[in-house]
Structure formats: C-alpha cells, structure tokens
Amino acid sequence: MLRPFDGSGPRFALLLILVTVAGAVALDGVLSTLWSLWSAYGSATSTGSADWLEDSFGCLLAAGYDPSSGDAANISAVLGRSGLVECMGQQPESYWGVLGTLVLLALAGATYWLLPKWRDRRRPLVSVETVDPDGTLRRELETLHARTGVRVQPRWRVDPTRLTAGACVYGRAGQYTVCLHIGLVSLQRQDIEGFRAVVLHELAHIRRRDVDYAYAGTALWRSFVIGAFIPYVLLFGSALTMMLSGLESPLWKGGLKLLFSQNMAGCFLALLVHLARADLLRRREFQADARAKAWGADPSYWRRRDRSMSGVPVLRRFTALLRTHPNWSERERALAQPGHSTRIDAPTMFLSGAAAIFLAAVAEVLPRTAPEITQVLTVSLAASVLCAHLGVRLADNRWSPRGRIRSGAAAGLWFGLGMLVGEYVTGGMDRTDWFLPEPQYLLAFLFIAAVPAVWWSQCLYLAMGLATPLRRATATTVCALTTAVLLWAGLRWWQLGGQRMAMGVDDVLLPDYYREVIPGDWRPYSWDLTALDLGMSFLTPLHRQTPVIVAAVAASLVPLTLMSLQRVPAAVRLGKTLRWGALGGVLSWGVLAATLLVLHARRPDTHHDRQSVLPVISVWWSIVAVMIACGITAVAVTVLSRRHWLLRAVIATQVTQLCAYVGLFLLHSLDGCLGPMNTTVEVCAWEPATGADHTSRVVLLTLPNAVLGSACAALTGAGAVWITRRVRGHRTDLPARPAPSTSPTGVTARLAGGLLVVIGLPAVLLTTVTAPQAPLGIDTRQYLENRPRPEKQSVARTPEEQALMRSFQAFAWLHHGGTEHTEEVRQDLLDLYTALTKQPLPGEQQDWDGLRNTCAALEGSIRASQEYFPIPLSDQQQRWEPTLSTMRQGARDCVAAVGVAGGGPTVKPRSEADLGAACKQIISAAARWRAVLDSVARIAGGSEQRERTR
C-alpha cells in the first residue's frame, strides 16, 4: 500500500528550524563582532579599554575562569557560583542575530515567492498549443491529470531549449507549473508510455507537495548560506588565521581551540544540512516514482543504465549521498521493493540525530529563550522524527508474510550515533581542551536514542492490535508522548550528569560532604563512599525530574494496558513475564538480605556511628541491590522473550521493583529482629516509620532510574542475543503473526485488568508520595557554593602572559561587582569612623543606636562582598578572605557590644570595653583590606595600560 505520509515531514521541519536557529546564532556572532569593531574604530581615541571584559566573558573571568587552563579546572572553579548566573543575567542580550534572521527569512520568503516568475522570465517557455496544433498533447495531459485525481490544476508549459525527454515542476503554494522538455513532446508521438511515466512522476510531486518543500527549503538554505554561514566562516576563519600567525595573548591557547571548534562546527553543520536535504529530496523522488507506478506508469521505464562512474567506490558512495537525485539503479531497486520509500536508512537516522543535537546546542544561545523551551522544542522535533519514521515503517511492514517485527533498535542506534557525533562537535565549541577527557561517556547517546526508539516501535505494534480506531489513535498519542519524555530524560541526564563526567570534572563532592556534615568514623567506609560518589553521579540527575518519573511508570503501565486490550489476547502472553518479574522480586530479597548480612558484619562498634554513618551506607547498598535485581531481571526477560522484549523487560522490572520495595520496607521495619541481618537497631520491634523512611529514600533514587537502567540493560542483553545468533547463524525471523480471528475472552481481559491495577497503582502512588523528598537527606547547594575549590594546575606560559591574564581577571572581578561591593564597605567604614569620632553636642547624648545601625550595615555590606566571587587571583584571595572575615566579626561584636535595640533609645553600651576592642579589630583589618584592594586595582590597571599599548 502506498502511503501519503512517509515520515519525512518532521525531518523537514527539524531541518528548517535548525537552519533558521543556527543562522540566527551565526549572524549574531558576525554582526555583533562587526558592530563592536565598528564601535571600537569610531571611539578609538576615547577609551581604548578592554570592552570585551565587560560582557559575559568578563563574568566568567571574574568568577575564576581561565581560558588557558583545562575544562575540568574551569568547571570546578565556576561550578555552583550563584553570582555567575546573576552576572550573566545582567548582561544585555544581543538582538543582532534575531534581526538578521528576520531579514534573511524575509529574503528567503521573497525568493520562494518570486522564483517561479523569475524562472518564467529567464527561460523562454512556450504554451502547449505552440507545439501541438492538433491538440493531442493537451488531451493526453488532461487525461493523465484526471487519472491522478490531483486537485490542483497545474499550468502546462513547454521548454523548447531542452531536448531531453524530461520534465520538471516548479511554483509556489497552490500554483504549480509543469514544464515539459521539448524532447518529451517529441517522445509523446513515438513512445506514449515513456511520456506518461515522466508526466505522472511530475504530477506525483505536485500531489505530495514536494514543490513547496523543495523550493521553500532551497530558498531558505541558500539565503542562510550566503547571508550567514559564509560570512561566519570568513570572519572567524580570518580570526583563526590571525591567531595562528603569531598573536601573543594569554587567551591564545583556549581561544585558538574555541575558534577552531566553532569553524569546524560551522562547516560540519553546512555539510550536515546539505546531506540531510539531499537525503530528503532523494526520498521524495522515490516516493514520486512509487506514486507514478501506482497511477499506472510502466515500471520498465525505470530500468535504465547509468552513465558509468569512475573513482574509488567509497568516494562514489559518499558522492551519491551528496546528490539530490538518485541514479537509475537506485530508482529501479526502490520501485521493485514495496516498502522502500519508508525504509529507514542509516544515514537518515544519523543525520537526524546530529541535527537534533545541533539544534539543542544552538538554540541555547538565542536571547530570551529559557533552556526548558529549547529543550522541549528539540525533543519534540527529535521524537517526531523518530516516531514518524519508525511508525510509518512499522505500518508498512505490519502484515509482512514473515511476521518479522522491526524492533527499531538499529534505527535508534544510528540516531544515537548521530547525536553522539553532534554532541562531540557542538560540545567542542565550549571546550578549551582539544580532546574530551572521558569520551566513553558519549556512548550513553546510543542508549538515550535506542531505548525510546525500541519502546515506541514495540508499543506501536501493540497499539495497532487494538480494536477500534479511537483506541488506536489514543494509544498512539500516549505512546508518542511517553517516547518523547523518555528521550528528554536521556538528554536531561546527559546535560545534568553525563556531560560533566565526560569532561572529567573530578570533584569528590559527596564523600567530603558526608565526612563534614555527618560526624563519625568514616574510615572503614571510604571505599563505599567512593562507590556512592560514582553511583550518585549516574543516579541523581533524574531523581527530581517529575516528568521522568511519570514516564518511567508509564513505560510499563502503557504496554501493560495495551497488552490487556489486545484484539487477540493469545498473541501477547503476559503470564510468563509477570512470573519472571516475581522471580526477580525474590532475587531482590536475596540481594537485599545479602547486603544486610555484609553490613551487619561491617557495622561500627559505637552506637553513635551505627546511628549516623551506617544509615547512609545502608541506603546506598539498598539502592545498589534494587538496581542489580532489576537489571538482572531485565536481561533475563530480554534473553528469553522473542517479541516485545523491551516492554516485557520493563514490565518485569516494575514487578521486581515493587517486590524489592516491599522487602526493603519489611526488612528495615523489623531491624533488630533479624539476627545476623540487624544493622542499626538492637532491640526487636516493629518500626514501620524506620522502614518507610529507608524505603522512601531508596524509592526516590531508584523509581525512575531502575526502570531506565533496566531498559538500557535490556538493550545490551538484546544486543548480546543478536550477536550470538549471528555468530551461530540462526535466523531471527519469527512465525507469522496470527490473523485477528478470535475475539477477546472475558476472563483474560479481566485478569489483565486486575494485574494492571495491582502493578500500576502502587507505582503511581509511589510517584506521588516520593517526589518532593531529598535523596539521602542531601542538600548540597549551600555546600557546593562554599566548598573549598581545588587549586588550579599551573599552566606553562610566559611571565608576561601570566601577568596579562591576572590583570584581565582582576579587571573583570572589579568591573562585575568587586568595585561596587568594596565601595559599599568603604562607605560603611566611613560612617563608622564618623559615628565613632562624632562628639555629642552639649546637652545631647551619644547616639548609640546610630552606631549599632552603622555596625549592622557594615556587617551586611561585608557579607554581600563575601557572597560575591572570591578574587580570582589566589594570592590576593588568601589575604582578602581573612580580612573580610575579621572585619565582619568585628562588626558583629560591635552590634553585640552596643546592645540589642529595646523600646527606647540606648543610653549606654552594654560593654564599652568590647565595643572598643571590636572597633579596633575593624580598623586594623580595614587597613589590610584597603591594601589588598589597592593591589588588585593596581593589577587590574595593568590591563588597561596594556590594552592601550597594544
């Protein structure tokens, strides 16, 4: 059956949006740079200071970023600085890109609109009547048009300058012109079937609206190539050349890498879009061929020999990908295979994956765009592409005689590979390291794409087995939404955790945090803490994401519902899956018991440590136990299932998970009664509150993660099975799907419904109950902000460069808030001095309240100064922080010494001696504070000095 929808529409939309957004970003770079150059040229005589330190880059420098050091050190330096977000937010947003894009869009629109007229003028086309005095050609064309049922009435024209027996179609929305080559008119009198094949092919293009797609896409692409990408590559390429030709700057190392990556990304994007566009157009050609054949064109006309092509086969294959038209052998092959036009090619999926990641990367830069919006946009487009392609493919192959179900794994893996490459290229635009320190984490993208792809394919297969169209449509919508959220979950995981791990950011946060926050003897558990730190990097990114939790639950509930509503219940057997899930539950109890045995053997001697240290370790190993049991169950179910392996694995995992939670609750509620499995409690008692607390902490971290992790494990298991079968030479085909002849039996439907409630309800309840809690009682935000930062590794550079870098950082620190905060502190110090030295007039009393308020104001301004970035120059910061702390303490002591404000005016201070000591402390610290400030200002002054001399 020939479908009007081949799944390429979402891909086209993805491509157009990518081109527009990437064009906006490129234009912003070009126009902003040109504007700043122009401004600098115009005001060369006025300031000459380092303007570029006053923008977002200056914020980074002020926060401690150093472009010449590695990514890991930089991330560690700026991670968790709330002031940085604030500083960035205060920078004016650039609208150059948006304005330029609007102009280019208008240009592209005008091109699209005027192109048909321009073509008419450029080519001397003649009417059909000119070459057809007897009207046979006109009659034939009318007949063919009527045969196809194409509603739009095209304009028929003849191009007398083209002697080939071909035709083309062009135009704009609703107004199309079919241009027959004069050679084709001649062919009509000789070989009418050949003539019809060509005309029907062109009418098929009209029917499928290919004219709009092709010409709008081409107009947009060419406008952006000429207006945005070429200027971008020229401008930044010339900057790169300047850098390579011997520019001396401490920014050189990082800047060179960044510029190189940005140029590479631009070129990669251009190649990507061209390849994707060519692929789309080729696919549309295949569709038009198939449509023409369906309308009665003789397929023998597609059996033609291509011109012999020379060259290396690999190169030929690559150049074939660049062409917008397939060659004859490809066309013939496509026409011979019924489902060819909806076939999912590896390049198609690869390019789509890369395009999705590129869009996510470039859309972040757009002004006034929340990251959530760009993520939703990207994920919805990527999910539409995946769902549309896999869905159409599955619909085509649903009733194939061999009953083979396409899992979608290959398509998903290619999509993931595209995302992987896209991430590597786009991630490089922000990295100063040439190579990713831990690139193996990028393999996560294979799972990020393949799991939703397989889940969608298998669910859709079930959805198509439902009885009514309404049910099918509803199920498809729910499945598509869940697929999108699963994809989003993967990308979110990467963004919040994977990316940092890949960049090798090695900050042992949690072990240090626990050691500091929970007093006790942690020495026996150092290995456990290391494992916990690593594990938490994987588990924490998604545990607070409510949509992910909902999707994880839906991942098992939706297929369960679909299986229970099947037209042919016998086709999907659930019992075995549930039995495997229950077995997994038993396994989980075994693993949990083993964990408790080990913990019992290793528990600390003191009661205090058992109450403080052990619970944290106990929760962690419970999490590991649940994850292991779920993973093993998922792999086992996958290996043993032949159809719907992922869905079965997820359902079984859900059963295992729920069993494990029940076991966990019982074991920890009965802690003290379990003999060799007792951990924290010695007295035997039923303590449901303890069990619930422990279980809820485990649930919070494992509810989405166990499902998603098990899905990844199932995919790995399926891969292993596939490889084993390939090695052994087994066929993976399945027996034909039974015809829908029997009706559902009431007993089976009721049984499945009951199971759904039993399994589904607890999962939903758990989702709602555990969502607002914190894992392991962690609130690391405050700790993250104030934790000690590792010293940056010294990088080899000349003293001159080092001095310049220091001056840049000092300037940025002062400019982005340093000066403002120190000015406030200085003013408050002056006020204090005035208040202390002011002699009361005769008859007046000393204003103690005023003094207290001044001290309080000073304390506040010093606190604000401490909350701002530390000085990025480590030697200065070492002197700076103690002086600030001393002054703050002095201000606090001053307030305390004057006394707490009561109902009336304060008559005398509480302790004059304390007040004197506090003031002395403030004054002596203020002198050191001033000295540090002067020295920072001197270093920063070097920046302006150097900028002027350069």
């Binding site: 027996a165 071909g166 050679g183 009198r189 157009l281 050609e285 917008t324």
Partner: protein
Amino acid sequence: MALYVREVVREVVETSAPHEVPVLDGLHGFSDGEALRVLHRTKQKREPLGFGFAEAGALVTAIVWVILDQAVRHAVDRTSETVITRGSERFRRLLRRGPAQDPHLPMVVLEPDELAMVRSQILERAVERGMHQADAEALADSVVARIVTAQPPQNPPSRDTAE
C-alpha cells in the same frame, strides 16, 4: 522568395522524422544562432524536481540543421566578394551573432562537392549517434534531394545554344 535553411530542415524532418516537428515548432521564435546553440548543447542542467530520460528528442533535427548550416555558411564564405566582408562575417560568427540583417540563414546554391560533403557528414554523424546505416543513408539522401530540388539549375543553357 528566398528559401531558408530552417525550411529545408523542416521539410526533411516532416518526411524523415515527423515526431520531431514539435521541436521545430518550439524553436520557431528563435534565430538560427539561438536554435543552433540549443541543438548543440550536450550538457543539461539538473532541475530540483526534474525527471526524465537523457535521450535527445531531436536527433534528426540536430544532425540535419547543424550540418546544413555549416555547409551553407561555408558556401557563403566562398562566394563572399571581399576579404573584409568575409572577415566581418567570421568576426560576427565568433561573437555568436547572427547575420547582419536576417536572423534566418537563407539557402544558397551548393556545389556538387559540397553536396557530397553534406551527404557524407550526415551519414557519418547519424551512424555515430546510433542510427542504422540504412536509415542514415535514407536521411542523407533525402537531405541532398531536398537541397537539389530547392536550388535553381547550376548551368542554365545559354540562349544561343538553345536556339
């Protein structure tokens, strides 16, 4: 009334390859130079949504018109009175411009050796482009026959001799 080359071509095409008549109809508004450029063109630009077969739909037209045009221009050169006229004609041709006044090339009288040359060239080109030998010969003969019938007798008998 002058007979043009394109008229001779049309008559030949009407008899030898009637399906190619639309090509001539299409080229009706073109000057000879433009038409020949179209017929000469070998490389065709690809259209975004173009589809079709590479076979040229104007085989006979292209062969006959191109060769006849060359032969007639050669004859014109031969009969040109001065070197300057000849030079200016060649220069004009170099610039791909048509004849000074008439965009259509009129037929001139061809010598027997030129006729023979036309015949052999048509035969050769037609076979080269995939035509059967017999068809090619028939085409070449029909062209020559049409030229001969179109041109006035070469050596009209003088009145004295007639008398």
